[in-house]
Symmetry: C2
Subunit: 297 residues, 2 copies
């Protein structure tokens, strides 16, 4: 497999994407401890929380406290999801050095999720990115429903190209393409990436695959074979439970790290320490997490 | 993905491989109903039980009754796992038209599993295959621990070639290569299959991947890309539980069928009817099965 480069970047989204829909009460101390354990394991890019209205995501209502309690670590980038200028103000206030914004490739999904059109989101980001630039903050972008939408079903790759192009035009440094409902199979990844990589720098495209139907890792391997070097994942598969209908189904960081390392592709993550972070969250939540690799330990 | 042929054969091993280690009491009627529902879903190759000593696999002690209660179905091949001449006698007695024998690519594993060397197994099969030939019974062969062994760890591909060759020499029509402990990643599949397919007819090689570390589907996709057209799977992922350490971790038939059908590769299986069969077993066992696809229904 000589087309594989020897190194990938894993963006750990467990503390934000993994926790955001969980109903259990989780203390700020435990969230901070979780992030620190992830950093100890070698995760260099961790999305730690979101500056969104607490009514929308009650679990992340303590986002400010989480940021305040985390000490700066050399070599580790802590990022925060930010939906608008108000969230951006908080990111600046807390000295955050990277934020992420999110839109979709489906108009219907974006309207239901953010109450605006895709172009409306992009306009919102213009101000956010401008504030970021002035404060030397990096901006990452998520495009959700790239491989399918619960409302529009099929999504044209041209729509993905259009949205991705607009995000790069704003000055966003990396765009993460999400299979939000976990419907993609490797031929879908091939079909979409062939077009995306013909137009954009492959080093700036990330994949964010959900394991809802068990296909996430096969899709990641296909993405890697096509040249992608950045992948989002969630420790333990947090946020996805295979035993709950319609579960989010985040791809487990353990499963992707196991696979890449055995394929000779370095992730920089110590899988044993990573499983300790996931075990810690299992203790906090009082239940098993869905990572397959974790279940063997 | 023009290198893909448009059709694959799925060998459903749920009723045998999936049930054999389950401690719950399952009635013969429910086992028969399960097999019939799988056949109703379009499964054409179903391994229904094993003629082994009841002390070794108590769950399959009713193998004779299962066979006696299943009516012959045109277009559906019911097979039975058979370890020796004594099991073969029973297969003949019950009018079984296909049996499967099993050995390993690891001497240590084979010794622990069957109390003989690999060559000892092959010698045992000679009599079995001879009885099969005289009775017009097809013989399939399993080679386990192809991608790793719990005792010997690494397995040389040359050992896989040697065992596979001996099985074909006996007159076995299809050899299923098993990742018994679920350690393989796609580059392992590539490395081993490159050698196997250089020597043997790819139409006669099957893959039997376990999902212990979440890699089974990615491995299957790689196998398919390399030309493999036969894959073993277990309805609902029966036999594998991601929440039990060291679980067998069978790849769920639903997950493989979803993936192949969406890739434009026909399995001949109706996924909705297949999930009904798995739901039925969930009812019998009183617990959820690990298939990701099933969890979305």
């Amino acid at each position: 497999m000589n087309q594989l480069f020897k190194k990938v970047k894993i963006v750990e989204v467990g503390p934000r994407d993994g926790l955001q829909n969980i109903k259990d009460s989780i203390s700020t101390e435990n969230k901070v401890r979780f992030v620190e354990m992830l950093a100890d394991a070698g995760c260099t890019n961790i999305e730690i929380t979101a500056f969104v209205h607490p009514k929308l995501i009650p679990q992340l209502a303590d986002s400010g406290e989480v940021c305040a309690k985390l000490a700066v670590r050399p070599g580790v980038q802590y990022s925060v999801l930010v939906p608008n200028a108000k969230g951006m103000e908080r990111a600046i206030e807390f000295g955050i050095k990277e934020i992420a914004v999110f839109t979709a490739a489906s108009e219907t999904f974006n309207m239901k999720n953010t109450n605006t059109t895709i172009d409306g989101s992009i306009e919102r980001f213009r101000e956010v990115v401008d504030m970021a630039r002035k404060n030397n903050i990096a901006v990452r972008g998520y495009v959700s429903t790239v491989f399918g939408c619960p409302f529009e079903k099929q999504i044209a790759p041209e729509k993905v190209l259009e949205v991705t192009g607009k995000l790069f035009d704003l000055g966003i440094y990396e765009v993460s393409l999400g299979d939000t409902i976990g419907v993609a199979v490797p031929t879908d990844v091939e079909r979409v990436l062939e077009k995306v990589l013909a137009k954009f720098d492959m080093a700036k495209i990330a994949l964010h695959m959900h394991d809802t139907r068990g296909t996430a890792l096969a899709n990641v391997v296909k993405g890697r074979e096509m040249g992608i070097t950045v992948f989002d994942a969630s420790a333990g598969g947090l946020g996805g439970c295979p035993f709950a209908p319609g579960a989010a189904g985040n791809l487990a960081t353990e499963d992707i790290v196991y696979t890449f390392e055995k394929m000779g592709v370095s992730t920089g993550i110590d899988i044993e320490k990573l499983t300790q972070a996931s075990r810690f969250m299992e203790g906090v939540l009082g239940r098993k997490l869905p990572s397959r690799y974790l279940s063997t330990k």
